[in-house]
Symmetry: C2
Subunit: 539 residues, 2 copies
């Protein structure tokens, strides 16, 4: 049997556009010989539609579009969409053929953790489903699953086994599974094990594209009943795979470097956020530091060099290298570069706000004024030219609040806010090495990081120590006492975890950040602002 | 039987402090003759603890504190806290007496809609529970419920009836039910009906206090088996009620004006946000308009007049009345008032950013610069003096994005962002009338609203028409086509609903706003930023 796996990039809420995209891919699949065509989870609505699912009209329009799609079918199609049944809503995999919906499977396992809220919207299905299809004169029994159903070990279930028990010849899992730096391996191990255990071919069709904070990486997978990988969809782009399930040639999972995967994920994140919100051009404050440099590289890959504007906004505290490094980067990338020195504005604030601002005794107020002037300049350029401001803070800074609210935190999208400072260095070095030239000026990588908001300032953290501790606390959800038990300095961990708690208020007002780790700040991490819990104190 | 109903105000995460608060109230209740002492839902952790519930140490510390509380008991106590059972987490009502936990009930109905996410954290209990207690030599059979269990009609269940069937003499519901302008009536109707149907006394103990966006209003209620209200806790403050269930005197629900309830709710919201985050003083940009005026009144009630700073920041577009009205308001309230004119800074931006800014042709860039300069000034004062900036935008503006991100949207807390423009007027007028003097200058109420960011500007909306339409779309969750069907202008509804969708990106970066309606922007309304759904178009 030849299966068309349509790894498409739908847009949330664009029901008509998604319908067209589905029909185009369906027709193309058939013309390429597919006998069954498969689309991702909720391909018709986009994922996650969030509270659009609470709107009756939205569900009706989705149901109508599904009917219209079904009318166009001849060859069977498996497609993810919504179903209202007895006033309950279900996340479904529909089977359509010969002009009709001929069956559907209601998702059983509804993820309600991290970035997922499916219990908020959907009722859980109760029965595994197998559907009989006549394909090339033969009867095929198709077992349907949706995304989380694959992660059934977390629920002490074995849904693949259940599907096999009721007679499936093949398992088709349609997914909207977001990227995380270890997700491909995790998925492929799970699928391989299911194929081997059930001795059934396993088709895994994943969504691709970015939606707000989430990046779907595609990388659809097909495993044969012997546990051999026989097909894989592209990473981070749409793909249409025509896979003959009789295929026995094994292929290998690509061994992409982690740095490359993260970089490409972020490029897709930027690209889709712009195209799906109708933006084309970005503006970035270039400080000559590594964070804004890496952000600019990603933006150029996503949008093209003619669509990225780099602005250097030196103050009297800016080093000469901060300007020259920024300019060198812009030159390397071939982007428009402008310098707008902020001294005159800083002075107007100082003059106006005497005695509140003390130029001889620079504290947080005097520092932040500068950052907020820069934020204001970038937003003025944004408002004037329609450029979208990209925020350049990394995850380590966002964790401890080493950033200025309404200043350098300004932006429509926070590109690298889920990369630790450690990862920012790693990816920057990889980028320079793999491209064979120092796109990011060497000095931006080697010099000590500094906000340059007062004389001779350098960041008051040893990132080599602090960045991994923060990653352990946030990404790996280790507890502070665990870190201390494992040898970390008590006072340092106390200080870091206190800062993480206190700076929740800043993160709550941060630009949406592209999620590339297993635990990002944002929708998947819901910590109260008013929060007196401190594990390392006895309060 | 005499019941002590402890309507307390715990703080999320402050396990030790909450423990002390519980023990103090318990001891006081006993000294006042209580034979059973009741505390709200999750009183020990505070509500909602959100992702703190995912931390093993947090749950352990909570369990330890509960054990310590139980050790102090003689007379029975009913207390809300968490239970880890077989590695599942439950939201429980614990019964403690004579130094021990003697029983617990696992919450059956877990709200997972609007601001609630309980399915994310808790497993649902399956059994109604009744516990026998010996009180004054008599056996009493106590049926326990938790909050949402009362709203059982939404789940086609009758949990009160089930409790009665297994022998309860009395129903005790412990709650953390947030304020909404119609919530008291809704709760009292439900409870009265349950009491009448089961012929059992019904004790409803609600939390009081504010947590991030949520305001818990207290107003605990006790109904007799005949459906008579026999006791009610105070609104918006802690209370300790000692209620004899033999009481037959009926009391009436107070008929508080809606304006007064909303005003008092917001005062509590501001008060608790400050006290629980360790802030004491607020700074507000006073424009002479009605929004900032009402915000200042609320802040003064919450924090005291010596703790509120009003800043007027006129530009060359500011009318003389905007300054005089602001000053008059500050005088009426007795707060510190400062004028910081921003012209010189605006000019520095214009000089620096020629030709990007065009002083002869004022557009959104030139307008926003002014708003962002003001935002920067307020934040500088905040950073210098530790004052917390209060944001003053209303819900109507927030809906359609008639506000400046990183400008007038700046603030640690958005005080009136869940009040429609219509409600802002109503409450302001009520305030002046009820206080017998024009605290808010009459001119601020009668003049046409204006952002004063360009010459002769007035807000480009007829709020009398637009504000109710927005309330219908957001608060009442009407669909745009319903509004049109009911006679609203198609183009206007199209325009408004498009603006609401497009401005999701601004609201995502807004300060947390105090929720007083049934549907507020914020944690209870999860709309994607990338969102191409438009009910009134065929796209």
């Amino acid at each position: 049997m030849k299966i068309g796996i349509c790894q498409i990039n739908p847009t949330v809420g664009a029901i008509n556009k998604n319908k067209q995209l589905i029909l185009e891919n369906y027709n193309k699949s058939i013309s390429l010989g597919a006998e069954l065509v498969v689309f991702p989870e909720l391909a018709l609505t986009g994922y996650p539609p969030q509270d659009l699912l609470l709107r009756e009209q939205f569900l009706k329009r989705t149901a109508n579009a599904l009917d219209e799609i079904a009318k166009h079918t001849s060859t069977p199609m498996v497609l993810g969409s919504t179903l209202v049944d007895n006033s309950d809503l279900f996340n479904c995999s529909f089977l359509c053929e010969n002009g009709k919906i001929v069956g559907y499977y209601k998702k059983i396992l509804l993820p309600t953790y991290d970035v997922f809220d499916e219990d908020r919207y959907f009722k859980s299905g109760s029965e595994p489903s197998v559907f009989e299809l006549a394909i090339s004169g033969q009867t095929k029994r198709i077992g349907l699953q949706i995304c989380e159903d694959l992660w059934d070990h977390n629920y002490s279930k074995d849904l693949a086994e259940s599907i096999k028990e009721i007679g499936a010849d093949i398992i088709i899992n349609i997914s909207a599974s977001p990227f995380g730096d270890d997700r491909l391996i995790e998925r492929s191990n799970l699928i391989k094990a299911k194929a081997q255990k059930t001795r059934l071919p396993f088709v895994y069709c994943n969504m691709v594209g970015s939606q707000d904070e989430l990046i779907f990486d595609g990388q659809s997978l097909v495993y044969g009943p012997d546990g051999n990988l026989i097909a894989k969809g592209k990473a981070f782009e749409e793909d249409l795979l025509i896979v003959d399930l009789k295929e026995t040639n094994q292929i290998n999972l690509p061994r992409t470097k982690r740095e490359e995967s993260l970089y490409k994920a972020l490029i897709l994140g930027v690209k889709d956020y712009f195209s799906k919100t109708g933006h084309h051009q970005a503006v970035i404050g270039l400080s000559g530091g590594i964070d804004s440099s890496l952000t600019a590289c990603i933006a150029v890959e996503a949008l093209g060099k003619n669509n990225v504007y780099g602005i250097s906004m030196p103050s009297k505290f800016s080093s000469s290298h901060s300007m020259s490094d920024a300019q060198a980067l812009a030159g390397n990338l071939g982007i428009d570069f402008r310098e707008i020195p902020i001294n005159s504005i800083v002075e107007s604030f100082e003059a106006l706000m005497t005695p509140d601002l003390d130029t001889n005794n620079i504290g947080v107020a005097e520092e932040n004024i500068q950052s907020r002037i820069r934020g204001n300049i970038l937003m003025a350029l944004s408002n004037k030219h329609g450029w979208l401001v990209l925020s350049t803070g990394n995850k380590t800074e966002m964790a401890i609040g080493y950033c200025t609210l309404y200043g350098d935190m300004n932006g429509g999208l926070s590109v690298i806010s889920d990369l630790s400072k450690e990862d920012v260095y790693k990816i920057s070095k990889w980028l320079n090495t793999s491209s064979g030239k120092n796109i990011i000026p060497k000095n931006s990588i080697t010099k000590p990081p500094s906000a340059e908001l007062r004389p001779d300032q350098v960041d008051p953290f040893d990132y080599d120590i602090v960045s991994p501790l923060i990653s352990a606390l946030i990404d790996n959800e280790k507890s502070p006492s665990e870190l201390v038990k494992n040898g970390a300095d008590l006072d340092l961990v106390k200080n870091i975890s206190k800062r993480i708690t206190l700076n929740e208020y800043k993160r709550r007002q941060a630009a949406p950040g592209l999620r590339v780790s297993s635990k990002a700040f944002g929708m998947g991490r819901r910590i109260p602002i008013v929060n007196k819990y401190d594990e390392l104190s006895n309060e």
